[in-house]
Amino acid sequence: MKAMLLSLLIAGPAWAALPGPTDTHAMRAELQKQRQDIVAGVLDLTDDEALAFWPSYRDYRVEMARLGDRTVKLIDEFVASSDKLTDAQAGRMVDEHLAIQAERVAVRQRHVKVFRKILPATKLARFVQIENKLDATIDQELAMAIPLAMEPAGK
């Protein structure tokens, strides 16, 4: 319990600090840089699988990167106005967040159909698992840095 509280205290200032746009971009780039190497290490593809898989993986990641760009834009917008957020802005941001989440699932479903034709079932399952783990790590880092929405002063 003591250790948990201590880690919460240590995490506290980082959580409370507002990330600037550059921080968000740099953090994401740093986490994403090694992504393919991690996926490659886990999948251990044969030469034939690799020839078919990586071009499809690249198309998939291009689409996911675009959704990531939208997320970063949303975070930048939120950070710039988190202490003076209007109801209209807050509502629009929630809608955009949910739209991005829905599209992430749709993109993944569409591409898994392609990967299913290339990879054996266990390798496909491993790929989906590692994707989830990497996304969870990035989401956790971002969640630690993004403050909660505040009502405008005087409201």
Partner: protein, 117 residues
């Protein structure tokens, strides 16, 4: 033991007979002007494949290293197969999306087999 050696000899001979003759080929790529469109930029290459054969089937591996807009660096290998004659140049286009940067490219001959007469 004799039978085993004979079996081994037969296997080796049939394997050698089944393997197609190979040839050598060199590939040279020159970057040309980008083909820019609304949604993507086409990186265009003039690819020349040199071989001493009058006709050969050549597999060329194209490896591109690309940095996506989110910072992920992706290395992709695509294989193209062509029936080539000496001194022929081919156009290869690799499309990159908005926000992506092509960091490195490499063309390499993976296989060269003379055309069947």
């Amino acid at each position: 033991m004799k039978a085993a050696l004979f079996g081994l000899f037969l296997t080796a001979t049939s394997w050698a007979a089944a393997a197609p003759a190979t040839c050598t080929a060199d590939v040279h790529a020159t970057e040309r002007t980008d083909d820019a469109r609304d949604e993507s930029v086409g990186k265009v290459f003039a690819v020349q494949i040199d071989t001493r054969e009058s006709c050969a089937m050549v597999d060329v591996d194209f490896t591109a290293t690309e940095r996506l807009s989110d910072g992920e660096e992706i290395k992709v290998r695509r294989r193209g197969s062509r029936k080539v004659k000496p001194g022929t140049t081919y156009k290869v286009t690799y499309r990159v999306g908005p926000g992506s940067t092509l960091l490195d490219t490499e063309f390499k001959v993976a296989r060269c087999v003379p055309c069947a007469e």
